[in-house]
C-alpha cells in the first residue's frame, strides 16, 4: 500500500542518532588516505590494486567467470569501434588527437580535472563532446554507443596507469567542487533513502538482490563497462543516472555539476590505483 511505503520511507529517516564527530581539518589528501585505509582494513586479503576489479575482488566465483571471459571480453567490439571513431577525421579534417594532450593517448587517468578558466570540472566525457563541438561535429549522447566506444578506447590506452587526479590548492573553487562531490556521495536520496555510501562503503561484497556490490574504492577505474544487465556498453553517466533511479530518485541530466563533482571526488579517492577500463560487469 502506498501509504505504508511512505511511512516506511519516513521511518527510515529516523536512523540511529550518530555521535557527531568533532570538526576535523581534512584535505583531499587526508580523505584519500583514510578512504583507502578503510577498504584495505575491511578486506585485508585484497591487494590495493585489485579493488579496481569491483565485485570480482569481492567474490571468488564471479572472479573465475570474469577471468575466463576476458579472453574475448564483451567490450571488444565497442573497443574496436572506438578506435575507428577516434582516428576518423572530422568533416574539417581534424581528429580527436588535435584536442587532447599527447594526442589523446594514455591520458585517461588525468580526468576529471578542474578547469581554472571556466571554473568547472571537466570529465573525459565532457572533453570528448567539447572536442566534437569545437570541430563542428554533433556531440554524442553521454550514456552509451559512440561515447562509450571512444572513452573505452581512451581508457584502454591508459590501462595500468594510476589515477592522477589533482585538486589545485591555488583555486578554492576546485576544492569546493571536490567537497560537493564528497557530499553527493554520502548524502541519502530517493525514496529508498540510500546514498552511494549505503551500498559501496557499508556493504561491498554483500548482495543486493542477485548482484554483488562493488567497493567504492576504484569503482570508476574500469569505466566504461559492458554490463551484462544492459546487454551493452554504458558510460559513467549511464551508471550514475541508473543508480539514482534504482533508489527511486529522479536522475539529473548526464554531466550535471553534481555528477561531475562526485566523479571528481571518487576518482581522487582512487589516486594511485590503475586504470583497468574498459571493463565487463555482470
Amino acid at each position: 500500500m502506498r501509504g505504508l511505503a511512505l511511512l516506511v520511507a519516513l521511518g527510515m529517516l529516523a536512523g540511529p542518532q550518530l555521535a557527531r564527530a568533532e570538526a576535523t581539518k581534512s584535505s583531499p589528501e587526508k580523505d584519500m588516505k583514510a578512504f583507502q585505509a578503510y577498504f584495505t582494513h575491511k578486506f585485508p586479503k585484497v591487494p590495493l590494486k585489485d579493488f579496481v576489479n569491483g565485485p570480482y575482488s569481492m567474490n571468488e566465483g564471479l572472479r573465475k567467470q570474469w577471468i575466463e571471459k576476458e579472453t574475448f571480453p564483451p567490450y571488444d567490439f565497442a573497443l574496436d569501434h572506438g578506435k575507428e571513431l577516434f582516428n576518423k577525421p572530422f568533416k574539417n579534417g581534424k581528429t580527436f588527437a588535435d584536442c587532447f594532450p599527447n594526442k589523446g593517448i594514455g591520458i585517461r587517468q588525468n580526468y576529471p580535472y578542474f578547469d581554472d578558466k571556466t571554473n568547472e570540472v571537466i570529465t573525459l566525457e565532457v572533453a570528448v563532446n567539447q572536442c566534437l563541438e569545437k570541430n563542428g561535429e554533433k556531440p554524442y549522447n553521454y550514456m552509451k554507443d559512440d561515447m562509450a566506444a571512444v572513452t573505452a578506447y581512451m581508457a584502454f590506452t591508459s590501462r595500468g596507469k594510476p589515477f592522477n587526479i589533482k585538486v589545485p590548492k591555488n583555486n578554492p573553487k576546485a576544492l569546493e567542487a571536490y567537497e560537493k562531490g564528497k557530499q553527493y556521495f554520502y548524502q541519502r536520496r530517493g525514496q529508498f533513502n540510500f546514498s552511494c555510501a549505503s551500498c559501496h562503503v557499508q556493504e561491498p561484497g554483500e548482495h543486493i538482490r542477485a548482484e554483488v556490490l562493488a567497493p567504492a574504492l576504484g569503482i570508476l577505474n574500469a569505466m566504461p563497462i559492458y554490463r551484462s544487465e544492459w546487454g551493452g556498453m554504458g558510460t559513467i553517466s549511464r551508471r550514475f543516472t541508473s543508480c539514482n533511479s534504482q533508489v527511486r530518485g529522479v536522475p539529473l541530466k548526464p554531466q550535471d555539476p553534481e555528477y561531475r563533482n562526485v566523479e571528481y571526488y571518487l576518482s581522487y579517492m582512487a589516486n594511485g590505483l590503475p586504470i583497468s577500463g574498459p571493463g565487463a560487469r555482470p
Binding site: 575466463e68 571471459k69 579472453t71 574475448f72 564483451p74 571488444d76 567490439f77 574496436d80 546487454g231 551493452g232
Partner: protein, 103 residues
Amino acid sequence: MASTIRVRAIAGADTTEVQALVQHPMDSGFVKNAKGEIIPAHHIETVQFETGGKTVFTALWGPAVSKDPFVKFSFKGGKKGDDLKITWVDNKGATDTTTAKIM
C-alpha cells in the same frame, strides 16, 4: 566488413580448447521496443566448428541465447597448425564464416 567471429583454439596433449565470441544481436522476438512494437526475431540458429574435414562441435542456439554469445568447449584431437573453420547461420538465412589456425 570486420568478421563477426573471434576465435582462439589452443591444442593440448589430447584435446584442443576453443573459445569464440560471436557478434550478433540475438533478438529473441519476444522483446518490445520503446514504442511497444515487437523487435522481430533475429538470432543465430546453428554454429559449426570443423577441422580436418570433420565437424567437431555443433551449437544449436536460438532465441534463448543472449546478445554477442561467448562459447567455450574442448574436443579430442586437433594439433597446432591445423585449420579450424567456424560458420554460423541465422534465422534470416544470413551467415558468416572464419578460419583460424589452432595454436
